[in-house]
């Protein structure tokens, strides 16, 4: 009666319905939990920090130094006409 059927794998360490961890899995995880949590915090802090720093630096920019090219009056009336025409068609 040594072995009845094949092992079912690590799924047995969770509740089949709620998928909650069993007390056995809590004990297995215990020695690794805090170190892993600290590792997770460090690993998420690096990309988040880069993102925040970039956003901070970019939001300082006012774009005041970029020249906007002037537009001539004839070109403007031509564009207006084209716009009206497309509006009437619809």
């Amino acid at each position: 009666m040594a072995v009845i059927g094949a092992p079912k794998g690590h799924d047995r360490y969770r509740d089949p319905k709620t998928h909650q961890m069993t007390p056995a899995l809590y004990r297995v995880r215990a020695p690794f939990f805090w170190k892993n949590t600290i590792g997770l915090a460090i690993c998420t802090a690096i990309p988040l920090g880069v993102y925040m720093y970039t956003l901070h630096m970019l939001s300082k920019d006012e774009f005041g130094d970029i020249p906007i090219p002037p537009i001539s009056d004839t070109e403007l009336t031509k564009l207006k006409k084209e716009y009206e025409a497309s509006k009437n068609q619809n």
Binding site: V3, P7, G9, Y26, V28, P31
Partner: protein, 411 residues
């Protein structure tokens, strides 16, 4: 305001749940606590009667005649003695005794013992973690040991093979000094054994293999160990799939006859061992004689520190068997093989070490491992029948020694 705080609390508890920090509530209801005298199982009632007949009260030194109301086990002479035992109440010994009581009833309860559904061989891709019982069970894919009762039942049988495996495995949890208990001499002995267990890589075409015989594990003074069936030892074998093992159980109680339900000699002619082959890898040899007799017979020669290892599980050097251990010591030390000793608790282990230190052959001994907690001790607490307030776990402490090796001297 009230609703926002309750939302934030709910968010936090959701976060908590996501990290699975909330422990699931135990579905186990409080188990009934029987008095041992009124237990539904006859052998427990007999044991209670034995305690009453043999044990002495720790306070009054009179026969035990009072059942501790917390644990249900007869422990003291009278209620006054029980009340005046401050040590007993201060150390909460009754809680341990209560556990003993619950464990004993659980084992006999006839519930479904899923913990004895053992896994098959380990997949090559998965490593076994030997740092504790829990990680071993998880990585070896045992059924989850959710309650302490599961753990107690499983560790009671697995403690013997796993204690051996944890010592000689490549990923042993015992570190060398100064971080751990293993001395330089211990490392030497283990290195020799590991050379056999994990031989240096050779192409299969060069047929030069070092292992011309299986590795032998001698268990001296075997009693509980000899009742273990082959498939329990096979769990040990699964951790070393490349090596063949002979497990030699030595001692007058090394063979448990299932028909007469008693320990006794095997009745093999010419003092030979009874050999039971479990499979290709594991064979069990039952020698129902004392070790010094076997050693003098010479059938087990030659001993080889690369292939042999001795285990003395709770030898009780100082007890009535002292004379036999004394005789065995010469052969043990001459073999130069590592000898591992286990003890029931700290005091017991210290007693064993004390005996070894006072032994006339002490100068011939090298310490391989200083006293340390066994990572694979049995978690089932038990009590000493003749002193019911003393509890122990089998194999809870480890110590190791070996016959001294002399370096070659140039002449």
């Amino acid at each position: 305001m009230g609703s926002s705080s309750s939302i934030s609390r709910r968010n936090l508890s959701f976060f908590w749940k996501m990290l699975a920090l909330d422990k699931p509530e135990s579905k186990e209801s409080e188990r009934p606590l029987y008095n041992w005298d009124e237990s539904p199982y006859e052998d427990i009632r007999t044991r209670a009667a034995f305690i009453r007949a043999k044990a002495l009260c720790p306070v009054t030194k009179k026969p035990v005649n009072f059942v501790c109301p917390y644990s249900g086990i007869p422990t003291h002479h009278s209620r006054e003695a029980w009340e005046s035992d401050t040590e007993y109440h201060k150390r909460k010994t009754y809680e341990l005794l209560k556990k003993v009581n619950l464990y004993e009833h659980d084992v006999r309860s006839g519930r479904k013992f899923d913990e004895f559904v053992f896994p098959l061989e380990q997949n090559n891709d998965y490593m076994v973690n030997l740092s504790s019982w829990d990680s071993f069970f998880y990585t070896r894919d045992f059924a989850p040991m959710n309650t302490e009762f599961n753990l107690a039942a499983a560790t009671k049988v697995l403690t013997y093979p796993m204690t051996i495996a944890a010592i000689i495995n490549k990923y042993s949890p015992y570190e060398p000094q100064p971080k751990g208990p293993v001395t330089v001499e211990g490392l030497r002995s283990l290195a020799a054994l590991k050379y056999t267990l994990y031989p240096p890589y050779t192409k299969s075409t060069d047929a030069v293999t070092f292992k011309e015989r299986p590795m032998r594990i001698f268990i001296l003074g075997a009693k509980m160990e000899s009742m273990l069936p082959g498939y329990v030892w096979k769990q040990f074998g699964y951790l070393f799939p490349e090596t063949k093992f002979e497990i030699h159980l030595v001692g007058p109680e090394a063979y448990f006859d299932k028909e007469t339900r008693s320990f006794g000699p095997t009745n093999e002619p010419h003092g030979r061992a009874l050999v039971k082959r479990f499979d290709e890898q594991i064979t069990l040899h039952y020698h129902t004689r004392y070790f010094h007799e076997l050693y003098d017979m010479g059938d087990l020669f030659p001993f080889d520190p690369y292939l042999d290892i001795f285990f003395l599980f709770h030898p009780g050097f100082g007890t009535a068997d002292s004379i036999y251990w004394d005789k065995a010591m010469k052969g043990l030390l001459e073999s130069k093989c590592p000898i591992y000793v286990s003890g029931y608790h700290d005091k017991d282990m210290k007693r064993e070490i004390q005996w070894l230190e006072n032994h006339p052959l002490h100068d011939e001994m090298d310490v391989l491992m200083t006293q340390t907690d066994n990572k694979f001790a049995c978690t089932k607490i038990d009590l000493v029948d003749i002193n019911p307030t003393e509890t122990f776990n089998s194999n809870s402490q480890l110590y190791a020694f070996r016959g001294k090796r002399y370096h070659a001297i140039k002449t």
